[in-house]
Amino acid sequence: MNTPAMFTPAMLAEQKMTLSDLPPSVYDHETQTRKFPEGALVPAMAPDTKFDGESS
């Protein structure tokens, strides 16, 4: 009889967005905001665009 495969968390994990998915941008200390190229598609801040390890 075959033993079923045993999953680890990494085997069940899925891809998420990273900073490399964002268009190139520059932070401006004068306005304290980030500048993206005109017309760039920038996602609204969402759990999957947080790029970090915190929970949503």
């Binding site: 079923p4 495969a5 045993m6 999953f7 680890t8 968390p9 990494a10 069940l12 994990a13 899925e14 891809q15 998420k16 967005m17 990273t18 900073l19 964002l22 932070y27 200390h29 004068e30 306005t31 304290q32 905001t33 980030r34 920038v42 996602p43 609204a44 801040m45 969402a46 759990p47 999957d48 665009t49 947080k50 790029f51 970090d52 390890g53 915190e54 929970s55 949503s56």
Partner: protein
């Protein structure tokens, strides 16, 4: 701005008000925090001083026993007495922002040292009654398991358990999901979303946070800003087959429609009671709505709100601006934090 009298460990004390320069909201975050961009545009640049932990080398920082002074690259400077309110947002170091890159140990050391000092700045703001809305220590004091126990007073909570080092046994007909406490990456780009599993196939060599699967029609998420509640619902019928986590569904079907949702008055009242029990002024609560029943999943004390109200029409941004403006009444975080556990937990 914050009141001249603050409660410290339950004792009212006089606080020195900001008296040099224009009072500001100090925001502690990272330079990719686009929600803070929105807040700055609404509050006005002069009303905010933003410190991005990932760009720490672009600031001049001096902290001594008398004052904190921080200047940014544009020459703008803030002193501790100028800070009317302090908001902890998403301060992230470079090794947190870029987990797939290698950083020299000394660089990591430098950033962690600076992050320690900035945490002390937040502590000083907390003790002086200027830290508002987000309590970054909440998860350390009462995290997902304590939340779930307290929430049982007000809502049905799906059964859960945490297992490590033992095979997971399933009762016949019982469907389970695995979740992550930390949402930390398991690889360069991957995380464990909430996933439906056959528990017999989970490796006993790993820890697992398991919860009963609730077949639900809607996800409901509620942004709580003190007494103000903003609820949104998402129809789960749009999820790809086999997907149970809306964050995973969002990756696969980017056009998710979170619709403004009218909470029944008794649910809204229950949420306010729960937030008071948790000593929270801010949180984003997640529920599953199944056949008219709201199942509590969790509250994230620093949960993101940016994608829910991009246009500002729902009122989240107006409410945040009113709470955070250095010129409006200040509602400091509870001090002390009293978590109303009562008879709970029962361990």
């Amino acid at each position: 701005m914050c009141a001249s009298t603050v409660s410290v460990n339950g004792v009212a004390r006089e606080r020195v008000l900001p008296n040099k320069g224009k009072p500001v909201l100090f925001v502690y975050t990272n330079s990719f925090d686009l929600s803070v961009d929105v807040l700055i545009k609404r509050l006005g640049n002069d009303a905010v001083f933003r410190f991005n932990l990932d760009l720490w080398q672009e600031y001049q920082i001096k902290i001594d026993s008398h004052r904190i002074t921080i200047a940014n690259l544009s020459g703008r400077k803030v002193e501790s007495n100028d800070i009317a309110k302090f908001l902890w947002r998403k301060p992230l170091t470079n090794h947190q922002l870029y987990p797939d890159q290698h950083f020299p140990r000394e660089r990591v050391y430098d950033e962690d040292e600076l992050a320690y000092a900035m945490r002390e700045v937040w502590n000083a703001m907390y003790w002086s009654g200027r830290a508002v809305l987000v309590d970054p220590l909440s998860d350390m004091i009462a995290g997902k398991l304590i939340q779930a126990q307290i929430a049982q007073r007000y809502f049905p909570v799906p059964d859960w358990d945490v297992i490590s080092g033992a095979a997971v046994k399933n009762e016949a007909g019982q469907h389970r999901v695995v979740k992550s406490f930390t949402s930390l990456r398991t690889g360069d780009r991957s995380v464990l979303f909430t996933t439906r599993v056959e528990t017999e196939q989970l490796s006993p060599a790993s820890p697992w946070f398991l919860q009963s699967y609730v077949p639900a029609e809607f996800d409901v998420t509620v942004v709580a800003i003190r007494d103000a509640l903003f609820a949104f619902a998402l129809d789960r019928a749009t999820f790809p087959s086999g997907v149970v986590d809306w964050r995973r569904a969002r990756m696969l079907t980017p056009n998710q429609d979170w619709i403004l949702h009218a909470l029944p008055p008794e649910i809204a009242a229950a949420i306010r009671h729960f937030m008071a029990d948790m000593s929270l002024h801010y949180g984003r609560l997640d529920f599953l709505l199944s056949g008219g029943t709201y199942y509590f999943l969790e509250v994230n004390p620093n949960g993101e709100w940016g994608w829910l109200d991009e246009s500002g029409g729902a009122g989240i941004i107006d409410t945040l601006v009113d709470e955070l403006s250095p010129d409006t009444a200040c509602h400091p975080l509870p001090n002390p934090r009293i978590i109303q556990t009562g008879e709970i937990p029962t361990w």
